[in-house]
Amino acid sequence: MLKTSRRTVAKVIADQLLNGASSEKLMQQLAGYLVKHGLTKQSDLYLRDIESLLATRGHSIVDVTTARELSDSLRKQITKAFAGQQSVVLREHIDESVIGGIRIQTSDKLFDATVSEKLRQLRA
């Protein structure tokens, strides 16, 4: 099997996801590909490329980090903030070390409004 460029692999997976293919199955195939070619250390880069390609086509995957679980109301507000996108998938993370506030990260942007970040800026 020929080794394909990361960008091409990401594009194929993004296309298949948008065509309704099972994400679980695609991730398994991607994992197999990475293991076979010894590219497991680059898994984050592949995922970031896939997310970036999806974002350019109006489908954003957003990592949201808070100290407590988000309420439905907040989820709606966050989704609303990405009004230009066809679909928004929130990937929520609970991290008490942020103390409060929210950190929102997309494939190409980072918005950090956590209390821990404010305190870090204050200490700097």
């Binding site: 808070t66 907040l74 903030a81 409060g100 506030g101 209390v115 305190l119 204050l122 200490r123």
Partner: protein, 181 residues
């Protein structure tokens, strides 16, 4: 006088010789005149020239001495003038040298004062800069320490006071501010 006139009269009356009347021997007188003339001739021929020569020599010596004295006086006066001139020149040179030395000393003193002043100014300036740096560093250190203390205190308070409701409000505010951008 009347006696002499009387004798002349008596001699004339007796018809005798006047010289005899006067008691003068005419031949003796002639011999004496001749002897006198011989003496004068002799003196003029042999004595006076020697005396004159000696006198002239003496006069020349005296004149020479006088000239020498005059010349010595003139030389002395000239030497005195020259010495005075040299003394004046030496005094002037000494005065000039002293003046130059004073000026150079004043210049050296002024330069030394200026150099010392610059050095002192530099030292003061350096000290001020050092103090300012130290003060700035102390302020910066204090500012950082205060910021850390404030941050630590704020973290502690927020951890104690921030509940789910307050956290939600913080998140809503952050999202709203992001949307306004």
């Amino acid at each position: 006088m009347p006696h002499i006139v009387t004798q002349f009269g008596e001699a004339a009356a007796s018809g005798g010789n006047l010289f005899q009347a006067l008691g003068i021997d005419a031949r003796m007188l002639i011999f004496q005149i001749i002897g006198f003339l011989v003496l004068v001739f002799f003196m003029g021929k042999f004595v006076f020239p020697i005396l004159n020569k000696s006198i002239d020599k003496r006069e020349a010596a005296i004149r020479e001495s006088a000239n020498a004295v005059e010349k010595a006086r003139a030389d002395a006066a000239e030497a005195e003038k020259r010495i005075q001139k040299q003394l004046d020149e030496a005094k002037q040179q000494a005065a000039d040298a002293i003046d130059v030395a004073h000026k150079e000393a004043a210049a050296l003193l002024a330069a030394a004062e200026e150099k010392a002043k610059k050095r002192a100014d530099h030292i003061v300036e350096t000290a001020h800069a050092r103090l300012e740096q130290d003060e700035q560093a102390a302020r910066e250190s204090l500012r950082k320490e205060v910021k850390h203390l404030v941050a630590d205190a704020t973290e502690t308070i927020i951890k104690q006071k921030l509940d789910s409701k307050g956290d939600a409000a913080v998140i809503e505010s952050a999202i709203a501010s992001q949307e306004r951008r």
